[in-house]
Amino acid sequence: MSDREQFCTFHLGQLFLGVRVQDVQEVIRYQDLTRVPLAPATVRGLINLRGQIVTAIDLRKRFGLPDRSAESLPMNVVVRTDDGPVSLLVDEIGDVLEVSGDLWEAPPETLSDDARALVRGVYKLEGRLLLELDGVRALEPVAAS
């Protein structure tokens, strides 16, 4: 685990999260969303990504966080999946960080169940912790509202 890995980082409420750069297709600003009635609560809607229709998953909903205020628009982190690209809606985009595997540790037991299921591990950076997002789990739907 001493390899260095690059993470595309972003903020979600108090959380500082990261996805491996190779899983990220692109990062784009807020896009108009078309809501999908009857969809799972985590699905905020559909965006038009240069002609491709991409499902946008609200990570706040996924992490059980309160909705963001009406005036703050989420950013899209578009990740690649076997089923085509999916967008993760996050609060703010951070830098791309290169971190050393030495800093990795499994998430502590005390983390809430919701969050534990979505976090692969924690990188202990200087002054802050970077949570590695489990990209597959994050896309799983939760029951419709």
Binding site: D32, T34, R35, V36, P37, L38, A39, P40, T42, V43, G45, L46, I47, N48, G51, Q52, I53, V54, T55, I57, D83, G84, V86, L139, P141
Partner: protein, 811 residues
């Protein structure tokens, strides 16, 4: 190496194509053994395969093809006549070749299969014909350089010798004894070389005639040679003419004007055109907003070009249905041989074109239907003769365009479907209840064959009847947005009718708004639009205990609020306008109430991600002109959500067709009425065409029944209470009449009083054996009998259904 791979791949693709054609031609040949052209074509195909595989080093394949070719060459020379064993052996050879080709595709070698027996059989057959000992070798016609006269210069001879076989067989690797065959193959065509030379002004018609006369009187040489000699034609000119001839043939056929394109590439092109269509829609909107004439003109041009481009790219993906059909004569032959039947295939509309993806999707269902028709539909020759029909059965396939859809009919002139047997089988397998069975019409019974787990075959044959049956056919066809329907007449035959869309990628759709979002509704499902304004809304939309209905030309149309169906909470301010989109879903009609109707538009269907696939209300999504995404409604899914049709498809089907049969616990909308003094009764609202009132003074008599004049027709009336043997109540005026319609025929049921319309989970408490009712249920805390409309009518108006059926057949 990669070049070699490329060559092998091309060889495979080409050979598969040729083999498919071969199957058909072989069957044609069996019917018309004298058809020289078909023989020549078969010969060429096998020859091409043989030549190419020799070149590529597949010796086993080459040896099998070689004996086949030899046999064919004797047939073509008229030394042998085609007969059943020969056809079978040749088909076996085709199969062997096919098997080896797939081996090559899979493993790169022509496999470990042993074909010596086949080779021996083929060899024996070609010798058996007229006692001539061996494969033709040393026959007088063998000449190393075919067409030009011996005097040709060496290089010209070389060109000619390769040009002629190429013209004949489209290949470049003639080996040893085959050259004779090449020559002969070219023979049939070579007469036309005269035409080519004539057109080039090199010779006159007289030259040709003379040469032909010479040939006719026994000159063994070929036309070119004779011409060279007689017309003092230079042999180079003949060679050139041969090239020209080759090219002409290419134009007429496929060689030079067609190229092979990877389907993946076409799919990408299609996607790109989809993008372009979307971008065009966006530009159109900008242009409309900007009001700039130069921009408008350019946009208009863009619009036209895009539309045309879209059409043409769609065309590239279109294939004639004949591509799938071509294998059916062979399938029919095999199946009919194996079950001792004699079946002729007739095809109409082979050129009808369909999108490639759809062609792929219908291939298996069609094959299944064809096999079924031959196996179960058409009788053995003995039975047919006994029934006074010709011994040979006919399977008729017909395809044609109609209203943006393709219709495919597969009809046999066999025994038809035994509805009694169908019924018994369905009961045995618990697919329907006895109550349902009793009420199903012939036509409905026939359609039971589409239920899962159904197989009519009295005995399981290796052809069909293995339980995986017509339900799979139906599912597969419905998957691509098609429908399938079967009709059958005892003793006359069975017809399956399939309707499928032309293409799936770009469809016309109606765009509507609901709760400030836009939704697209595929136009296939759209019947009409109804707009109600002002006090019409109050008057025309009747709210029946929470189930709104609208009288559409006298018929009750259940209404569904789209916002409620989608659980959209936004309380859209109800304006003074109600827009009803009348839709068709699985035989049922319903009205979808939307906020606004925007426009019709060509939309590009895009799939939804897997997080959303399970939502049955949506068929996909599309991108609108302004770049925003809109969802495409799945009309069937919406109907199911709104309980317009019941949630499970199959029971829904039976439900819809059995009209009046109700399974326990089915939530349904019922019309409650009183009959006699105090009987509460209910019938499904779906059975009710209209509710009417008639004055007693309007009553007239026809025959021994009461009738009224109604909408220019005579409506017979049945007094329900009397029919059911209940005490008549006071004479009411006016009469309350429930109008029941079936296939254009109507009948009026006189009831005491219309009470209500309710949507209830109907639990039949007591199944009734008493005629006229299906049983009793508690509805609105009162015991209510469910009227068995069909049963009553069959009993008391026996003519009604037959006439209705006639009427239906006429319309």
């Amino acid at each position: 190496m990669s070049e070699m791979d490329e060559a092998i791949r091309e060889f495979l693709v080409e050979s598969y194509e040729n083999l498919d054609r071969l199957d058909t031609e072989m069957v044609v040949l069996e019917e018309k053994p004298e058809d020289k052209e078909t023989l020549a074509s078969i010969f060429r195909t096998i020859h091409t395969i043989k030549g190419t595989c020799g070149f590529l080093g597949y010796s086993k394949l080459e040896s099998v093809a070689h004996v086949g070719e030899s046999l064919l060459s004797r047939l073509r020379d008229g030394k042998l006549r085609i007969n059943d064993p020969i056809t079978s052996a040749l088909l076996a050879m085709v199969d062997a070749v096919r098997r080896m080709l797939s081996e090559i595709e899979a493993s790169g070698s022509d496999g470990a299969g042993d074909y010596t027996e086949l080779v021996q059989k083929l060899t024996a057959l070609q010798e058996g014909g007229d006692g001539v000992a061996k494969v033709p070798s040393g026959l007088p016609k063998i000449t190393p350089a075919p067409t030009p006269a011996p005097a040709t210069k060496p290089d010209a001879a070389a060109t000619a010798s390769s040009a002629a076989p190429a013209a004949a067989a489209g290949t470049s690797q003639p080996t040893g004894p085959v050259e004779e065959a090449d020559l002969e193959a070219a023979d049939g065509e070579s007469e036309r070389i005269g035409q080519v030379l004539l057109a080039q002004g090199k010779i006159t018609q007289a030259d040709i005639d003379a040469a032909l006369v010479a040939q006719g009187s026994g000159d063994p040489r070929r036309l070119g040679e004779i011409l060279v000699e007689r017309a003092a034609l230079h042999s180079r000119e003949v060679v050139e003419a041969l090239h020209a001839q080759n090219e002409t043939r290419g134009t007429a056929g496929v060689a030079d004007t067609n190229i092979r394109v990877d389907v993946g590439l076409l799919d990408r092109l299609m996607n790109l055109v989809g993008e372009l269509v979307l971008a065009r829609n966006q530009v159109l909107q900008f242009s409309n907003a900007l009001d700039d004439s130069a921009l408008a003109a350019t946009t208009q041009r863009l619009n036209l070009v895009t539309t045309e481009l879209q059409e043409h790219v769609m065309k590239t993906r279109m294939q004639p249905i004949g591509n799938v059909w071509s294998k059916f004569p062979r399938v029919v032959r095999d199946v009919s041989k194996s079950c001792g039947k004699d079946v002729r295939v007739e095809m109409e509309g082979k050129d009808t074109e369909l999108d490639k993806t759809i062609i792929e999707a219908i291939k298996d269902p069609l094959t299944h239907i064809v096999r079924n028709s031959v196996d179960h539909g058409i009788e053995t020759p003995e039975l047919r003769r006994a029934a006074g029909k010709s011994a040979q059965g006919v399977l008729r396939m017909r395809a044609y365009h109609e209203g943006g859809q393709v219709n495919i009919e597969i009809a046999d002139d066999g025994a038809g479907i035994h509805t009694d047997r169908v019924k018994a089988k369905a009961l045995e397998r618990n697919l329907i209840t006895p109550e349902q069975a009793a009420r199903l019409s012939e036509r409905e019974l026939v359609n039971l064959i589409f239920l899962p787990g159904f197989s009519t075959a009295a005995k399981v044959t290796n052809v069909s009847g293995r339980g995986v049956g017509m339900d799979v056919v139906k599912t597969n066809i419905e998957k691509i947005g098609g429908t399938v329907d079967v009709s059958s007449e005892r003793g006359k035959g069975t017809t399956l009718k399939i309707k499928i869309p032309l293409t799936l990628a770009i469809i016309p759709a109606l765009v509507v708004s609901c709760a400030k979002d836009r939704y697209a509704i595929p136009q296939v499902n759209l019947l009409e639009l109804v707009r109600l304004e002002g006090d019409e809304i109050q008057r025309e939309i009747e709210d029946l205990h929470g189930a709104p209905v609208y009288r559409l030309r006298g018929r009750l149309l259940p209404l569904v609020h789209l916002d409620r169906a989608l659980r959209l909470s936004d309380a859209s301010d109800r304006t003074q306008v109600v827009n009803i989109v009348v839709l068709q879903a699985d035989e049922r009609q319903f009205g979808l109430i939307v906020d606004e109707i925007n426009d019709t538009e060509e939309i590009v269907v895009k799939p939804l991600g897997k997080q959303l696939k399970s939502i049955e209300a949506f068929a996909g999504a599309t991108i609108m002109g302004d770049g925003r995404v809109a969802l495409i409604l799945d009309v069937l899914g919406i109907a199911q959500r709104a309980h317009v049709i019941s949630s499970t498809r199959e029971t829904g089907k039976i439900e819809a067709e059995s009209k009046g049969t109700h399974q326990a616990n089915e939530r349904s909308t019922l019309l409650l009425f009183r009959s006699g003094a105090d009987r509460r009764m209910a019938i499904p609202l779906s059975d009710v065409a209209r509710l009417e009132e008639f004055q007693r003074s309007q009553l007239e008599f026809a025959g021994d029944g009461q009738v009224v004049q109604y909408r220019g027709e005579i409506l017979p009336l049945l007094e329900l209470a009397r029919l059911l043997g209940w005490p008549p109540s006071e004479e009411r005026d006016p009469l309350q009449v429930v109008v029941y319609s079936r296939q254009g025929r109507s009948i009026g049921l006189v009831v005491e009083q219309i009470l209500d319309i309710v949507e209830e989970d109907v639990v039949l408490q007591k199944r009734s054996r008493r005629e006229g009712t299906l049983g009793s249920a508690v509805i609105q805390e009162r015991v209510t009998d469910l009227l068995d409309v069909e049963g009553v009518l069959r009993m008391h108006a026996p003519g009604f259904f037959e006439e209705a059926a006639l009427e239906g057949a006429r319309s």
